[in-house]
């Protein structure tokens, strides 16, 4: 049979599809970045103090916790799941941090950090086990654990509040100190974003998360350990929520069982605005992190612009709708373009 033997290698082809795909990446991620820069520029024009070192620092600090949560959420959403329990996990971890310092004030900060991460990982493992083993939908499972984890927090705290005075100064300084003008907390977030982004892009298991979200049935047929990967995604999300809890304690100092209440919806909003497809399979943690910064910036820019605080939530909502609208428009256009072209010679 000649079709096989006579095939000659075509010269390395610069493919229109790759250019298209990378352009889509650019449109998605850079689009949000552009929106962010426009917002900052516009607000700075209206009020030059918006670009002061202090206000930029505040902005970065304000986005940090949301961005870390958004990275964890993005990892889960990419697999066509969702984790609604992260706000409660953050609350548990933050309160645990305070309680640890209350019990033994001399504890080393890394130890507390590890305990917070471990607590988050355990919560994530509970979610993951329920979803992967029982094959229950993530939306329902994590809605349940949202209340369960919060309830555990309430019964543990029994209305107590932990104050900044109960925590060592070294720990609280973590929340305010800067390196070269960048808050230490933000450096944490930066490391998390870069590591997670690199992992998802360059590791087999990372790519498999995308495959699972893209078509779960095909993933099973391809021999991808779907349950294991989804479990790991929830553990990652829980761990990052645990980290966010420790950082929350360092930043705010005052803790009760309500820390992180309602954070999950903000996080999902940041992820969607950041271009992660809610049905999984595409998007990046970079986008999710920029989405988090964008939402935070809107929160602080609108008052500067004199926008009624009542309209701020509507603005966030409009942004989510715009992000989804853009996604749809792009998908349609690319779909048409890809279909219209015969992809082999």
């Amino acid at each position: 049979m000649t079709a096989v033997d006579t095939a000659t290698a075509p010269a390395a082809r610069t493919s229109a599809g790759s250019r298209l795909a990378s352009r889509v990446f650019l449109i998605r991620e850079l689009g949000i970045l552009l929106a962010l820069l426009l917002l900052i520029a516009g607000t700075a024009l209206a009020n030059s103090r918006f670009l002061s070192a202090q206000s930029i620092k505040d902005l970065l600090l304000g986005s940090t916790i949301l961005a870390i949560l958004a990275v964890g959420q993005a990892i889960v959403v990419i697999t066509r799941n969702v984790d609604l329990s992260i706000g409660s996990v953050l609350g548990l971890s933050a309160f645990a941090t305070g309680s640890l310092f209350l019990a033994s004030p001399g504890l080393a900060i890394p130890v507390v950090l590890v305990v917070g991460l471990a607590l988050g990982a355990v919560c994530g493992a509970v979610n993951g086990a329920l979803i992967a083993a029982a094959r229950a939908p993530a939306l329902v499972v994590t809605l349940g654990t949202l209340y369960v984890f919060r309830g555990i927090g309430y019964s543990w705290a029994t209305g107590r509040q932990i104050n900044a005075a109960d925590m060592p100064v070294g720990f609280l300084r973590l929340g305010t100190e800067t390196v070269l003008g960048i808050p230490v907390l933000t450096l944490f977030a930066g490391v998390v974003v870069v590591l997670a982004g690199y992992y998802l892009r360059s590791y087999r298991s990372g790519r498999e998360l995308y495959a699972i979200g893209s078509d779960p049935a095909a993933a099973r047929l391809s021999g991808i350990p779907v349950g294991k990967r989804v479990f790991a995604a929830f553990v990652a999300s829980g761990t990052l929520a645990g980290l966010a809890g420790v950082l929350y304690a360092a930043r705010f100092g005052t803790l009760d069982a309500n820390a992180g209440l309602g954070a999950e919806l903000n996080v999902v909003a940041a992820v969607v605005v950041g271009g992660v497809a809610i049905f999984g399979g595409s998007g990046s943690v970079y986008g999710a992190a920029v989405g988090a910064v964008l939402l935070t910036t809107i929160g602080s820019a609108l008052p500067v612009l004199g926008v009624d605080p009542f309209w701020q939530r509507a603005a966030v909502g409009a942004l989510i709708l715009a992000a989804i609208g853009l996604d749809r428009a792009l998908a349609l256009r690319i779909g048409r373009r890809l279909r219209g072209r015969s992809s082999h010679g």
Binding site: M1, T2, A3, V4, D5, T6, A7, T8, A9, P10, A12, R13, S15, A16, G17, S18, L20, A21, S202, Y203, R204, R207, E208, Y210, A211, G213, S214, D215, A217, A218, A219, R220, L221, S222, G223, I224, P225, A277, G281, S282, I334, G335, L338, R339, G340, R341, S342, S343, H344, G345
Partner: protein, 500 residues
Amino acid sequence: MTPPLLAMTGVSKSFGAVAALRDVQLELLGGEVHGLVGENGAGKSTLVKILAGVYPPDAGTLSLDGEPLTLADPAAALAAGIAVIYQEPTLFPDLSVAENIFIGRQPLRSLRRIDAAAMRSSAARLFDRLGVHMDLDRPARGLSIADQQLVEIAKALSFDARVLVMDEPTAALSGVEVERLAGVVRSMRDAGAAVLFISHRFDEIFALCQRITVLRDGRWISSDPVGALTVDLLVRRMVGREVSSMYPKEASTVREARLEVRGLRRQGVFSDVSFTIRSGEIVALAGLVGAGRSEVVRAIFGIDGYDAGEVLVDGKRLPRGSAAAAISVGLALVPEDRRQQGLVMELSVERNATLPRRWSLSRLGLLLWGAERRSARDWANRLQVKAARLSDPVWMLSGGNQQKVVLAKWLSTEPQVLIVDEPTRGIDVGTKAEVHRLLSRLATDGVAVLMISSELPEVLGMADRILVMHEGRLVADIARSRADEESVMLAATGQSGGAR
């Protein structure tokens, strides 16, 4: 005597009360292509899924090189060297073509990171072996079925599988692509692999296979060397009865023009497409996959828009891009990709079959369940849909039976102009003849039928007239009396100006 590379003995598998396979045996030898034929619902796909490690058998054993083999999951089957190409492609729409091939097995560089360059060049080598150009970086989303199938084949090649199972790999391919696939199969066979080849096309089965196994109603019927078989014998064994004729085309009187297409053009897809279809006529739209046939009928039916030209039904101009308007004047389109475009997989058989008529089957906006059920049962009987219950969701049916439900759905609207896109793709011989008889009867009843088909025997056997497309243009209009395989193929490959 060396043991067969892969053997199945006494394998049974039931789903609830339905026995899909009963005491089935199969022996695959290295260096041999083994054909597997049977009607829809005979258990072929179940057998494939057992080999793929998707289903564990209820009873019976598998062995590889004479050693017992247990396949706990698809990963175990791949590890054992068994690669499967499924009937419906199973790609990841968001991942690139190259990643689709190597997912989970990407080449690695230091620190176990993915070596993207090595992955691309390996993928490029695979497509070179297949003799096709494929854009490696584009996402799989939007690839035509034929292209998706090519990616699946490249993926199977990349496994260097010892056992290759192909479940109707050619159903969506046209002549050139089938030849290419046959080449791949032969080269794998010559390299010592065992190939299990499932197809409804006898010419391919006889050209490729050394032995052929027949399944019927989940039971093993026979396994014979190809020399001892004829098409007639095979068909009798598959069906268990005589099939009168594959192409029962009756002569019908051609009357007034029903569907007129004038100068239809869509930038970069097709251009200058004009033809007329009259009442009582079956017109085939032939051409290679990618010639733009499906795109033209989608534009006619109003699913896609077009840039210039017009579509007239009974002399009245159809608004552009409105499927609702097309349906209301009596057009019906049975699409090619039944999973994505033809059926709502989660809904029941009866609900699917009556979907386009939900208004006429309802009073005061409420669906009449009784009327729905009666109508669905009537059509299910006429097309011999095999389902445990008509209230079962459609995804539980076998591929061919799903196709019958799609047909029932549109035929029941009693269309004036019926457009069918690959009406018998993935359908067994028995049903195929049924579908052909149905189309023929519709034509004698005065329906204008436009049939897209990549199967030449079907085109030649059923059509009164054959329109041939090549690269987005209508290049030939051949009357039944003058049509033969050669004239159609020449026009489809752009070799001649055709007989316009």
